[in-house]
Structure formats: structure tokens, C-alpha cells
């Protein structure tokens, strides 16, 4: 019974976070259509006269920062922007594999029959017109900002954990030192408080490498996202593709390792009359898919919201500065203070999201491999 209680507590916390994130993300979506229209206006205005003072557009700035991009923006605006060009890799059944640096596509230029429209690479015909049929056949394997950031964090993780593993091999049975003593409590935390308590003493070892990797992957990518300059700053974990991939992996592992007991509970819950089963079974099957879906949404929405809030506070400075420079300076004090506060909160959220994702994944694995007698306890 104590086990049940243990599971319930973090679950209610995560439930709360889930609703909180839903609330925040719904606020973003409410903001979104407004963005679109102002974006169009801004683009139109820019086309009319480039020399004219461009109005500061917070929505555009935020969207540009949180979406993926083919270049890694460092600083500056418009003509003076400094950005790191990233490799574009395109595969098409007609033209085969094409690779070049993204600066070839700068300012809407056409290169090798490709053109960049709003972060999407499309195929164009000889006259520079959009070729929709060819575009549909393109597979974009580009190293985008998120992919590059992903690789940076992966190299960071490899360096961290391989050096820690080496430290363990160098002085076996000794007290941990340096990086070891930073990571060891976390590794033990994931092992004892996430894997062992949710999956059970007998079977947790099989899932531990995955859980540890997921935990540190999410946590380190979250932290990288908090660094505002080059090696970080990309909104990796706040991108739905990352959450999707992780959630699908969790789903696949759950389904593969599921035992007879798990399937029996989904298809025909024992001890439930047939009349109710007609209703319950579709819900259970739906729930099977809903669980990883919720994992994806939670991670995506939380991290996205963090980025948006931090950027919004900074945007406030410029919005007020446009009205009056002095007001801008005045607001900047509060904005910076709030951003620091949010940064602290985001540090916590970065860890919390990694923890919640890992814990819930472990709980799904736990229900998948749960033995019969244990299941009876819950009824």
C-alpha cells in the first residue's frame, strides 16, 4: 500500500504541472493568431520601405527564437545579423542527396533549385517558381539549429559520463571525486527513487540505462536551452519533435515489454462485467496511447513556455523603450529582475521536467511488467 502512495504523490504533482502547462500553453495559443497577423504586417511594412524604422515586433522575435532554424543566430538584426550557417542536407528521389551550407539560401536566394521559405526548404523550377510536386518529395535531413544543439549536448553528455565512468574504473571502491560526486547522487536518485520504486526490485535493471539516458538527456538539453548564447539557446526540448521521439520510444518499450497481465487489464479488465467492458476497453486502449502523448505534450509545453516567458520579459523592455527611452530603462530593471527569477524557476523546471518524464516512463514500464498478484492489490 505504501508503494501505491509513493506513486500517487509525484503523480499528483505531475498532474498539477500538466494542467499548469496546459494553462500556459493555451495562453500562448491565444496569443498566436495575433502574432501571425502582426508578422504579416511587419513583413509587408519591411517590403514597402527597408530604410524606414522597423517597429519592434515581440511576437516575431519570440517565434524566431523558439522555432527551429537553418542558421544559428548569434546577434544583430536584418542586414547586420551575425549567424552561424548550418549544413543543409536534402534528399529527393529525383535529384538524390544534396548538401550545402545554409548561407547559400540567405535572403530568399535560389541555390541548386532550392529556396528557403519561412524555415522550410522547398524546390523551385527554372524560373524560381515554387514547385509543389517536387517539394512534397523532399526529405530534409538538414543539421538545423536544434540538431546542432542536440549534437553539442550529446557530446557534452558523452564527455561527462565517459570521464565519470573512467573515474570509477580508475579508483574502484573509493569515495567519488569532482564530477563523480555531482553525478553520483543523481544516478542513485534515478536508480532508487525512479526505477526501483516504480518498476520493482526484480526488473528495474533492464530499463535503468534507458531511464538514466532519458533523464540526463532531457535535463542537459533543458539546461542548454537556458544558456542564452551560442552553444545553448536552442529550444530543443521545447520542440515537439524531440518530445514525440522520446514518447514514441517510451511507448514502444512499454508495448514490447508488456506481459500478459498488462494486456489482460487493457483488453478485459478482470472482475468487470461485460456491459462495462464495452465502455472500458476502448478507454483503456485510448489511454495506452494517451499516456505517451501526455508525456510529449508536457515536456514540449513546459519548456516552450519557459522560453516564451523569458523572452517576453525581455521584449517588454523594447516595447516600452519604443514609447519612451526612459520608460524602457525603467522597465528594464523589473524585466531583468523577473527574468532572473524566471531563470531560477526554469532551472528548477529543467530538473523537474526531466524527473517527471523519467518517473512517468518508469511507471508505464512498471505497469507493463507488473505481476499478477501485485495487480490484485490495486483493486
Amino acid at each position: 500500500m505504501t508503494n501505491n502512495n509513493n506513486i500517487f504523490k509525484p503523480f499528483s504533482v505531475s498532474l498539477f504541472l500538466f494542467f499548469a502547462s496546459l494553462f500556459i500553453s493555451s495562453a500562448i495559443y491565444a496569443y498566436d493568431p495575433d502574432n501571425k497577423s502582426t508578422e504579416k504586417q511587419a513583413v509587408g511594412a519591411a517590403k514597402e520601405s527597408a530604410s524606414e524604422d522597423k517597429k519592434f515586433n515581440a511576437g516575431e522575435l519570440i517565434i524566431n527564437h523558439i522555432t527551429d532554424s537553418h542558421e544559428w543566430h548569434v546577434m544583430g538584426e536584418g542586414e547586420h545579423a551575425i549567424a552561424l550557417p548550418l549544413p543543409v542536407i536534402i534528399y529527393s528521389s529525383e535529384t538524390g542527396l544534396t548538401a550545402f551550407l545554409s548561407n547559400k539560401l540567405e535572403d530568399g536566394e535560389v541555390y541548386k533549385g532550392f529556396k528557403l521559405i519561412k524555415n522550410d526548404i522547398v524546390a523551385v523550377d527554372g524560373e524560381g517558381q515554387l514547385d509543389e510536386k517536387a517539394s512534397a518529395k523532399l526529405w530534409d535531413f538538414s543539421i538545423t539549429k536544434n540538431v546542432a544543439s542536440l549534437m553539442v549536448s550529446i557530446f557534452l553528455m558523452l564527455w561527462m559520463f565517459l570521464s565519470v565512468a573512467k573515474a570509477y574504473a580508475r579508483n574502484p571502491g573509493k569515495a567519488p571525486k569532482g564530477m563523480q560526486s555531482l553525478l553520483e547522487p543523481l544516478i542513485i536518485f534515478v536508480r532508487d527513487d525512479i526505477a526501483k520504486s516504480s518498476i520493482g526490485e526484480k526488473k528495474y535493471k533492464r530499463y535503468l540505462p534507458f531511464l538514466l539516458t532519458v533523464f540526463f538527456f532531457i535535463w542537459i538539453n533543458n539546461l542548454m536551452g537556458l544558456i542564452p548564447f551560442l552553444p545553448g539557446g536552442a529550444n530543443v526540448t521545447g520542440n515537439i519533435a524531440i518530445g514525440l521521439t522520446l514518447a514514441v520510444i517510451v511507448f514502444v518499450i512499454t508495448v514490447i515489454s508488456a506481459n500478459k497481465n498488462y494486456w489482460r487489464h487493457i483488453i478485459a479488465m478482470p472482475g468487470v462485467p461485460i456491459g462495462v467492458l464495452v465502455l472500458l476497453t476502448p478507454i483503456e486502449i485510448f489511454g495506452m496511447f494517451l499516456k505517451p502523448f501526455v508525456l510529449m505534450i508536457r515536456l514540449f509545453a513546459n519548456m516552450l513556455a519557459g522560453h516564451i516567458i523569458a523572452l517576453s520579459f525581455f521584449s517588454l523592455i523594447f516595447i516600452f523603450a519604443e514609447m519612451n527611452t526612459a520608460v524602457g530603462w525603467g522597465v528594464s530593471i523589473f524585466s531583468v529582475a523577473f527574468t532572473i527569477f524566471m531563470g531560477m524557476l526554469e532551472l528548477l523546471v529543467a530538473f523537474l521536467q526531466a524527473y517527471v518524464f523519467t518517473l512517468l516512463a518508469a511507471m508505464y514500464f512498471g505497469t507493463a511488467v507488473e505481476e499478477h498478484h501485485h495487480a490484485e492489490e490495486h483493486h
Binding site: 498566436d32 517565434i63 523558439i66 522555432t67 527551429d68 542536407i89 519561412k118 524555415n119 526529405w139 530534409d140 535531413f141 538538414s142 543539421i143 538545423t144 536544434n146 540538431v147 542536440l150 549534437m151 550529446i154 553528455m157 558523452l158 559520463f161 565517459l162 565519470v164 565512468a165 570509477y168 574504473a169 574502484p172 571502491g173 553520483e184 544516478i187 542513485i188 536508480r191 535503468l208 540505462p209 534507458f210 538514466l212 539516458t213 538527456f217 520542440n239 515537439i240 519533435a241 524531440i242 514525440l244 521521439t245 522520446l246 520510444i249 516552450l304
Partner: protein, 164 residues
């Protein structure tokens, strides 16, 4: 909608890099780290257990020592008691022998005294008899020294016969 539309390229690279890092870390980091942690935890547990065992052994040893000490003490008491008993017995024995000897000597002395006394009495009696005879002789001599006195005696004797 761009935010919620997963990009194919990112998913592809995510799969590749996550799979790669999962494989590498599992093989070269998690397995050795977790093994080492397990080993260390076990060795710490063993050290604690053996410390506990040593403590218990010490305790057992201590109680054993105490037992030995107590045994020694009771044995010492026993020995002392024995010695005391023996001493008392010896004294009482000696006392018994001495009193017996004294008694015997007293009896002998008493007997001797009696004998001496009897001998003395006999001798005295003999002396007295001799003396009496001598006295009687002397008296008789004096009584019978004159005729007159012989006559008186005869008379006296005759008077006595008359009385009968």
C-alpha cells in the same frame, strides 16, 4: 501551427543521436558506473556488517571474560572456604586429641594418686598397728610391772565378766 508540427529532419537526427548515445552510454558508462556503485555499496555494507560482527564478538568476548572472572572468583571463594574448613577441622581435631590426652593423663594421675593414697593408708595402718602393739606392749609391761596392778586388772576384768 509551426510549433506543433514535428519536423522530419529533427525526428531523424533525434532518433540517430539518441540511439547512439543510449548505446554508447549503456556500454561504456551506465554498466561500469552501476556495477561500481553496486560493488561499493556492497563493500560498505560488508564493512558495516563486519564491524557489527566484531562488536558482537567483542561483546561475547567481554561476557566470556566476565564469566571466567566470576568462575575464578567462585573458585577462590571455594578454596578459601575449604582452607577455612580444614583449618577449623584441624584445630578441632587437635583440640579433641589434646583433651583426650589430658583426660587420660588426669586419669592416670588420679589412679596414681589413689594408689599412692592407698599405699600411704596401708603403711599408716601398718605403722598404727605396730605403734599400737608397741604401746600395748608398753602398757602391758607397765600394767603388769607390779602385783598390785595385776590384781586390779584381774578385778576389772572380772567385773566386766560379771556384767555379762
Amino acid at each position: 501551427m509551426e510549433l506543433v508540427k514535428p519536423a522530419f529532419g529533427l525526428i531523424f537526427w533525434m532518433c540517430v543521436s539518441f540511439g547512439l548515445i543510449l548505446f554508447i552510454l549503456k556500454k561504456f558508462a551506465w554498466t561500469p558506473i552501476l556495477n561500481m556503485l553496486h560493488e561499493r555499496e556492497e563493500s560498505i555494507q560488508n564493512a558495516l556488517d563486519s564491524a557489527e560482527k566484531a562488536k558482537e564478538e567483542m561483546k561475547a568476548l567481554q561476557s566470556n571474560n566476565e564469566k571466567i572472572l566470576a568462575d575464578a572468583r567462585t573458585e577462590r571463594d571455594l578454596l578459601l572456604k575449604d582452607a577455612r574448613d580444614i583449618r577449623e577441622k584441624m584445630i578441632s581435631d587437635a583440640k579433641g586429641i589434646a583433651s583426650k590426652e589430658g583426660e587420660r593423663m588426669l586419669t592416670i594421675a588420679r589412679e596414681n594418686i589413689q594408689n599412692e593414697k592407698m599405699a600411704a593408708i596401708t603403711e599408716l595402718k601398718n605403722q598404727v598397728a605396730t605403734l599400737s602393739i608397741e604401746i600395748a606392749e608398753k602398757i602391758l609391761k607397765s600394767e603388769l610391772s607390779s602385783d598390785e596392778k595385776q590384781k586390779t586388772l584381774v578385778n576389772t576384768l572380772l567385773k566386766d565378766v560379771n556384767l555379762n
